[in-house]
Symmetry: C2
Subunit: 170 residues, 2 copies
């Protein structure tokens, strides 16, 4: 892995971000067209409704451009549980630790928002093995597998990281 | 248990239903005020947006009044997975099998809508033990427990019933 670039984080959402998100998500060649639309729609909803949308964003900027982003939010009807909905890094900037920096930045912000647990839902299909491994490396643990949840043969895997048990200042 | 009353089922949502739902849900003395509001809001959203809301209702009517109801819907980004969001029976009509009839009616309708798995999410707190037992009697199985999901000491329990493995015509 190369040195992580000196990325700057930004949590305000700009009118240009839906386009940047589409570019990043499409660059990964990982998501279906309908999934790309959902990613873009979350940013549009955030722009329309502000924090009341329930969607919070972290953008990683490097050399004047957005190289990756994450989207998270509090889970309704819970105290301290958050979902990490999306995380993607531009294909051209992968392999340099930007994803891991984004996870860490989300965790820092979620902790400031009173979060104690962060959940990730992903697919159990082989294609998603690198995704699951990435989060395991970030200390997320698989706590549930719902067989055939997304479709026959496509399980839902739920991972969690408890950030209330981690020393402050991490 | 008394004989089940001869309830009639209705799936159209009337403008008077949010009030009926509030009455039923409050009569159970089981839900917090904010949970009651969520129950009412789902019906209002259904009235405003129709089936595009993603919320489907079954009302059990008996002797001219609504005695119970259930709310379910397809889970986005899945093929064949449905959530059973709400089910409540008026306190005055409990203990006569109306809840079980409502579950069966939801399952029948979900099957007609192409559903293959029905999920229920509930709390692991002792207060919800009768709820979990009710669904176990309806052949739902616990497939996941997310510790402290709702709050410290308040787990989320996920139950599922696979309706694709059941003989047609049930």
């Amino acid at each position: 892995m190369l040195e992580p670039p000196q990325v700057a984080f930004r949590d305000s959402v700009h009118p240009s971000d839906p386009v940047a998100i589409r570019r990043i998500v499409e660059s990964t060649s990982f998501f279906r067209p309908d999934e790309v639309e959902v990613a873009v729609e979350l940013a549009q909803e955030r722009l329309a409704k502000g924090e009341a949308s329930g969607y919070f964003f972290v953008f990683a900027e490097f050399d004047g451009g957005v190289t990756g982003y994450a989207c998270y939010g509090p889970i309704a009807c819970t105290l301290g549980s958050f979902d990490l909905y999306w995380l993607a890094v531009d294909q051209a900037h992968q392999g340099r630790g930007v994803g891991r920096l984004l996870v860490r930045e989300c965790e820092r912000r979620i902790r400031l928002q009173g979060g104690r647990r962060i959940y990730i839902e992903t697919s159990g299909r082989p294609q998603y093995k690198p995704t699951r491994r990435f989060y395991e490396h970030c200390d997320y643990q698989t706590v549930a597998v719902l067989a055939d949840f997304y479709d026959s043969g496509d399980d839902k895997v739920i991972l969690v990281k408890r950030i209330d048990e981690i020393a402050a200042g991490v």
